[in-house]
Amino acid sequence: MANTPRQKLMWSIGILVVVLYALFPVAWIVSLSLKKPDQLGDKKFFSGVSFKNYDQIFKTSDFTHALVNSIGIAAIATFIAIVLAAMAAYALSRLDFAGKALILSGALAVAMFPAISIVGSLFQLWRNIGIYDTWIGLIIPYLTFALPLAIYTLSAFFREIPWELEQAAQVDGATPFQAFQKVIVPLAAPGVFTAAILVFIFAWNDFIFANTLTSSNSARTVPAALAFFTGGSQFQQPVGAVAAAAVVVTIPIIIMVLIFQRRIVAGLTAGAVKG
């Protein structure tokens, strides 16, 4: 389409508005986290740079434990989901068998599942079998959303792979499994990586399971810990600490987004609306 200078100006304004829309709240929470305690009520958007809040949160085991829990639980859940989903997605996109549609619609149904519907039974079950407030107690429910997401994203990516190479390997004497392992896995790595990022973001974001299935520092992740932060006194809102912790958990996501933006967009749209 032709672009007149006027149109160019319009699109530039559009771009600027979108960027501001997305970044303004982020700038606010960063600025809030950098305020000194006595500057919190000054009604200013920005009032200087102090790392006092960060010092404070890294001194408390509530936050450092939560950070370790968040990283560990999200990473393990992502790993398990990707391994299981990669095998399934390979079969779904490549092999001929009855029940494909059933598996895909089943996965979609699981993805639509409201977490609140299973929180009560898990709360009950986990206490009975002794995995309430443990890593594994959170990793298992995370698979409910991680697996469908990974299966959809990976099947979409796997459909784009040049499969002739696999057959070439089979002609050369490889078994179907060897062809999968030696030829397809390296080709599929970028898609697998993208799916892993998306699953990690989801697991990192979870609040409802982390809130209901943990009760202490031993498994509580950052989103849940944030909700239970307490201020210096009972009546004091721990605004500065929450803001600093919020920024810390946001940083890994921003780094991932900056590095892998193209892949994330491809993954999101491939998994949902196939172009």
Binding site: M1, N3, W11, I15, V18, V19, A22, V26, W28, L32, K43, L84, M87, A88, L95, D96, F97, A98, K100, A101, I103, L104, G106, V110, F113, P114, I116, S117, I118, V119, G120, S121, L122, F123, Q124, L125, L143, T144, A156, Q167, V171, P176, I201, W204, N205, F207, A227, Q237, V239, V242, A243, A246, T250, I254, M256, R262, V265, T269, A272, V273
Partner: protein, 313 residues
């Protein structure tokens, strides 16, 4: 060698033959590869929901565990005759309709900017992905602190009056919850719509332009109808997501000021009041609502995720 490497499957569909050994072993491999994922999904969702249904038929309060007994559908009767359940359904629907509606319009605008932008595409893409990636709890705190009289900057600016405290009254609470939801999830909507937008052939738009259609007509008469499947899928995903709303409400109001959603209600009954039987009934009812919404989209509006996904089903 040359001929053998040609992919037979991408050619014309082979006629149905007797099941060969190769096909049999292929099927066996397929089931082996799918089994772990399928079994895991069944265990992690199927089993808990069946257990939730079982629990919902019991009188079971953790404060009085000895009084556990089978009560049939009594818990459902209690929930469905309580005004709390119905008002929470209304709260949830109000938040869902407003946030998804605003997201659709805003998401479409962002998608158009991303689609047509010749420069600055990368900047827009990174920017919209940041709200998408941010933890919902963080977004909820960010907006809450911005309007909190004790820590916010919004009071006394053009945004809010000096003494305003939106999260202490109903309209303000709704506005903040919806604003947070919209900010966080519009990017996802925009990306789904962008994918749909890229399916609209440029030639069609050019032809309409030659025929004298203006930009507004081209958008409403060509782009929008062609995007209908993509829009419906995006709406389905987001509606189901918004109906489950929990994080933002928990952080911003905890359900105060008449903003309690069905998920918050389930949480309160299950975890705070430890009434497992009654809470499970709420859980199962939320699950049924989600199925009804999905059914409405698929059967009434004709949303097809399979067709959109390019699967041969």
């Amino acid at each position: 060698m040359e001929a053998a490497t040609v992919d037979q499957r991408t050619g014309a569909a082979p006629p149905k033959k007797k099941v060969t050994d190769r096909a049999k072993s292929e099927r066996r491999l397929a089931y082996m590869l799918c089994a772990p994922a399928v079994i895991t999904m069944l265990i992690v969702t199927g089993y808990p929901i069946v257990y939730a249904i079982y629990l919902s038929l019991q009188k079971y309060d953790l404060r009085f565990p000895s009084q556990k007994e089978f009560v049939g559908l009594a818990n459902y009767g209690d929930v469905l005759t309580s005004s709390t359940w119905w008002s929470d359904v209304v709260h949830t629907l109000v938040i869902t309709v407003f946030s998804v509606g605003i997201e659709l319009v805003l998401g479409m605008a962002i998608a158009l900017v991303m689609h047509r932008a010749i420069f600055g595409r990368g900047a827009v893409r990174v920017s919209v992905l940041i709200p998408y990636g941010i933890v919902t709890v963080v977004a909820a705190f960010t907006f809450r602190y911005a309007v909190d009289p004790a820590s916010g900057f919004a009071q006394g600016t053009f945004l809010l009056s000096d003494t305003a405290a939106p999260l202490t009254q109903q309209t303000g609470s709704y506005a903040m919850i919806i604003l947070t939801e919209v900010w966080k999830t519009t990017p996802f909507m925009a990306l789904l719509l962008l994918a749909g937008l890229s399916l609209v052939p440029d030639e069609l738009l050019e032809a309409a332009k030659v025929d004298g259609a203006n930009a507004v007509q081209r958008f409403f008469r060509i782009t929008l109808p062609l995007m209908k499947p993509a829009i419906l899928v995006a709406l389905l995903f987001r509606t189901l997501d918004a109906f489950r709303l929990f994080d933002t409400v928990f952080i911003q109001t905890s359900g105060a000021n008449n903003t309690e959603t069905v998920s918050i209600l389930g949480y309160n009954v299950l975890i705070n009041r430890v009434n497992i039987g009654l809470g499970s009934a709420v859980s199962v009812l939320v699950f049924i609502c989600v199925i009804l919404i999905a059914f409405f989209f698929v059967k009434v509006l004709g949303t097809s995720t399979a067709q959109q996904r390019g699967e041969e089903v």
